[in-house]
Amino acid sequence: MTALPVTRDRARRGAALVVAAAALILLILPHVVYPVLALDILAFGLFAVAFDLMFGFAGLLSFGHAAFWGTSAYTTAWLLGHGQSVPVALLGGTLTALVVAVPVGFLSVRSIGIYFSMITLAFAQMLSFLALQWTDVTGGENGLQGLARPGLLGLDFTNSMHRYYFALVVFALGCCAAYRVVRSPFGKTLVAVRDNETRARSVGYSPTRFKLTAFLISAALSGLAGSLFVFGHGVVSLEVVNWRTSGEVVMMTLLGGTGTLFGPVAGAAIVLLLRDVLTTASLPVGVVTGLVFVLAVLFFRRGVVGTLQGFLKARR
């Protein structure tokens, strides 16, 4: 915001170029990989972006973000199963995730560091247990299948391509929201609070209030992502509230680059494409993905996008 005009314009042009390139890639993606996989990339990409609002910008590592992704997923599934339209189901899922995030956030943000991580994990596990037990609504271990996805504005949602492009619009809206939050007075202050909480308090800020607001926004966007996931697959199962999902989003974010806003989307793409390629080649997915992750943490601390950004900045 207060950078010198020359660097600012160059940065703006560079950013516009990157956005255009990314848009192009996302537009042709379902023609390069299976549309269902492409939609998964969008869903997990948005999930990781939402997660990074907490981690990269508020500085809080949540181990239980599947709680919001999963709550929304189940709500979306339930709404679709009860004949609701897709937009209503997506909205319902997002709002439910937000509502659940209020008490979870309120109780969690007062803790810092590892304690915050453990509390969020605990809440996610509680929701996981609830999903297992509440078989009337969630289908328990079997989950819910064969969800209807009534068409919209001439789009036929039994067609995976149509689903993808609709999801792309929703994904873009979600990303715009994330961008706005980060590049707002709130986002700027959030970073200040994260960098120096003592100084922030001594100029009149309440850190808890900022962390809670960030938490709620992150949860809502995670919910939107989770509802996209169910919309894409037409089924929901216990995996959506599983701790492995919480762990996966952490990994995707770190691989892509925390604090880079959209690096996590790249991270999601890498993890999902890698998994697809490895499964097809019958290679051990967990081992290879894990290895990639370890190497990234050791040598590409700032993730793929973060490292690239650093490289470009140094060249300027």
């Binding site: 915001m1 207060t2 950078a3 707002s184 709130f186 003592t198 308090r201 100029v203 009149g204």
Partner: protein, 248 residues
């Protein structure tokens, strides 16, 4: 009128008494220095006065309103602002943004996650005026982390002024500075003290003698003496506390 007072202030840390029955009265408009050997509990006292530590017993009053149980950010809003001994700034933000972020805390802007960050520019004129006051205008766009030690101290003071404090606590504002920096800070504190009450912790006796109206001497967490500088420095207990050093 007493701007800031403490009565019977005590702070224990697991059996160690850092602050022992401290009574303090700071008159409105004065520059009051708190001095004492290392380990005397000066910064602990500042933490107690500004809400970063809660007293074990005793109370703190700001213009006769009790504040010891309030959170630091609430005390700031009541008009008491502090700077830190080790410069505490927002390292990733520019100098200008540091001040803008501090200035907007009283407005509704920080909560607005839907507005563009350009809306923060409304605070830019005031921020630049403050930077002018602390002589940092030419470094407005430098990242705070890249400032020199002395420049960071100047930013510290600017940040503590953003909250329009009636009472300003300055923790060793001249620490680590050469004679030129010290002279600059002395001038700055004198300007800043106009219309405000200033309490400063200082090691540098020439700064104290130049600025302070009254001083309080701390030793082992207790108040040893309090009063006008010329009277206190001749007090035999104070002289002994500094181990016979010439309290210049």
């Amino acid at each position: 009128m007493i701007a800031l007072s403490a009565r019977g202030l005590c702070k224990d840390f697991r059996g160690f008494r850092a602050t022992n029955l401290v009574d303090l009265d700071v008159e409105e408009g004065e520059i009051h220095a708190i001095i004492g050997p290392n380990g005397a509990g000066k910064t602990t006292l500042f933490n107690l006065l500004s809400g970063f530590l809660k007293p074990t017993s005793g109370e703190v009053r700001l213009y006769d309103e009790p504040i010891s149980q309030l959170a630091p950010e609430a005390i700031v809003r009541r008009g008491l602002s502090r700077s830190f001994q080790i410069s505490s700034v927002f390292p990733t933000l520019s100098v200008l943004d540091n001040v803008i972020v501090a200035l907007q805390s009283r407005s509704a802007l920080p909560g607005a996650f839907w507005r563009s960050e350009r809306s923060m520019r409304t605070f830019e004129p005031r921020a630049r005026a403050l930077l002018e006051e602390v002589h940092l205008s030419n470094l407005a766009h430098r990242a705070a982390a890249d400032l020199s030690h002395g420049e960071k101290r100047q930013l510290e003071i600017a940040l503590s002024l953003t909250q329009e404090p009636r009472v300003l606590l300055l923790d060793e504002p001249t620490s680590g500075m050469g004679s030129e920096g010290v002279a600059r800070v002395i001038r700055l504190v004198r300007e800043v003290a106009r219309g405000r009450t200033v309490v400063l912790v200082e090691h540098n006796m020439s700064v104290v003698s130049e600025l302070a109206d009254r001083i309080t001497v701390l030793q082992y967490g207790s108040v040893l003496a309090t009063g006008r500088y010329d009277d206190v420095r001749r007090d035999p207990r104070v002289v002994e506390a500094y181990l016979g050093e010439e309290v210049a």
